[in-house]
């Protein structure tokens, strides 16, 4: 029977929510949370001998240290196969699952598999080094994700080739495999074109990458004359959240005045971001949106001016399309207001 290790964050590892996101790596010598479904899917073929759990913030704030501690814990159990997550669209959990899988493979020489929503930042960062099942954005897709992770994970640990339908379930790694075709490339291209014109399904042999490289903006020539604006994805809003900014999967951004405000106070502002513990930001919102510090720079003459408002949204599971739209609209508005530079704070 194969020995399996399962890696989870503090939430799925049933330690707690955001208030426990700082906990360091720890072990439970049994399946936990989604591990129960994993064990059921593995059946008699393998046993989840231990679950390794690490807090999202602990990992994200020191990924190298966390990974090496986690690898040391995993090594002690001499596993045949490691499962991580699935992480769905969780922005810290995804990269941590990816990094654990990558290191398990590289350092321990053991097969590892995870699962994520294709827009999870962990995919972009590590997809080349990863076997990662495509999942939906939320834990509602747990059952299907566990089933395909199990089937494909067991094959990986046996070194067996994946079927075409199994390959379809994996996020492409950019690995190219040669094969013999009956038809030349020219004939296949014409077939594809005819299929496309006729509205029939066709499949490209060379998918175009979707990376976006933005050319860095020119530096500000004279800071002492420059107007600076503050923008945040940290969910800072007036207390009571009058315009109902979403705590995750934001569909809007908002603009609020800071005219006459030298210091954001807990009485007037708060955070509604659902992806981190808001305790510290609610005590002092300047910890996320540094109005007090930028005002000091203005008074000292270090900058020429300051926008008397800020733009805010929640960067938590927000879709790429929405983020792109928010960014474009905010940038146009700032430009129209003769803003020279922006400090965008991120949580």
């Amino acid at each position: 029977m194969k020995r399996v290790i399962h890696f989870l964050n503090q939430f799925f590892g049933q330690i707690g929510g955001e208030d426990h996101a700082g906990v360091g790596p720890q072990v439970r010598e049994q399946p936990v949370g989604p591990g129960l479904a994993l064990q059921a899917a593995l059946g008699e073929k393998a046993r989840v001998v231990a679950t390794v759990i690490c807090g999202d913030n602990y990992f994200a704030e020191q990924p190298e240290k966390a990974t090496s501690e986690i690898i040391d814990l995993i090594r002690g159990f001499s596993p045949d196969l490691v499962f991580a997550g699935p992480a769905f669209n969780a922005g810290r959990y995804g990269p941590s699952c990816a990094l654990v899988c990558k290191s398990v493979k590289e350092v321990l020489g053991v097969s590892a598999i995870t699962g994520m929503y294709p827009e999870n930042p962990g995919v972009e960062l590590y997809k080349k080094d990863l076997v990662c099942i495509k999942t939906g954005p939320s834990a509602a897709g747990m059952r299907g994700a566990i089933a395909s992770m199990t089937a494909i994970g067991l094959k990986l640990s046996e070194g067996e080739a994946l079927t075409a339908s199994e390959t379809e379930q994996i996020i492409p790694r950019g690995v190219r495999k040669n094969f013999h075709s009956e038809k030349t490339g020219a004939a296949r291209a014409i077939d594809m074109l005819l299929d496309k014109l006729a509205g029939r399904p066709y499949r490209t042999e060379l998918a175009m990458p979707v990376f976006e490289n933005v050319t860095p903006a020119q530096p500000i020539a004279d800071l002492s004359k420059a107007k600076i604006a503050l923008v945040t994805e940290g969910g800072i809003v007036p207390r009571g959240n009058p315009d109902r900014l979403e705590s995750s999967r934001a569909t809007k951004y908002l603009k609020y005045s800071i005219a006459g405000i030298d210091d954001l106070t807990a009485a007037e502002f708060q955070s509604v971001h659902g992806g981190y513990s808001n305790v510290y930001a609610n005590e002092d919102p300047d910890r996320v949106l540094p109005v007090d510090a930028l005002r000091e720079c203005l008074k000292a003459g270090e900058i020429g001016g300051m926008a008397e408002y800020f733009f805010t949204t929640t960067g938590n599971g927000t879709t790429l399309d929405n983020s792109r739209r928010f960014g474009g609209e905010i940038a146009r508005a700032l430009k129209a207001d003769n803003v020279d530079g922006v400090i965008l704070t991120s949580t």
């Binding site: 530096p219 500000i220 800071l223 305790v279 910890r287 949106l289």
Partner: protein, 55 residues
């Protein structure tokens, strides 16, 4: 880095990028000022590619 930001200043921590709740208020404020000034310096620095401003 993954999302394509070009001028990046590493901050304190996820729930409080510009604060250190365990510090005294004046010490925390001075950390925040330092980070904001570092961001302003990043804005006046010429770069050709994604750059992390570590000090």
């Amino acid at each position: 880095m993954a999302i394509g930001a070009n001028r990046i200043v590493p901050a304190v921590g996820i729930p409080h990028p510009l604060g250190s709740p365990e510090m005294s208020k004046p010490a925390e404020k001075s950390i925040r000022l330092k980070l904001v000034r570092k961001a302003l310096r990043a804005l006046i620095t010429h770069i050709d590619k994604q750059t992390v401003f570590t000090d």
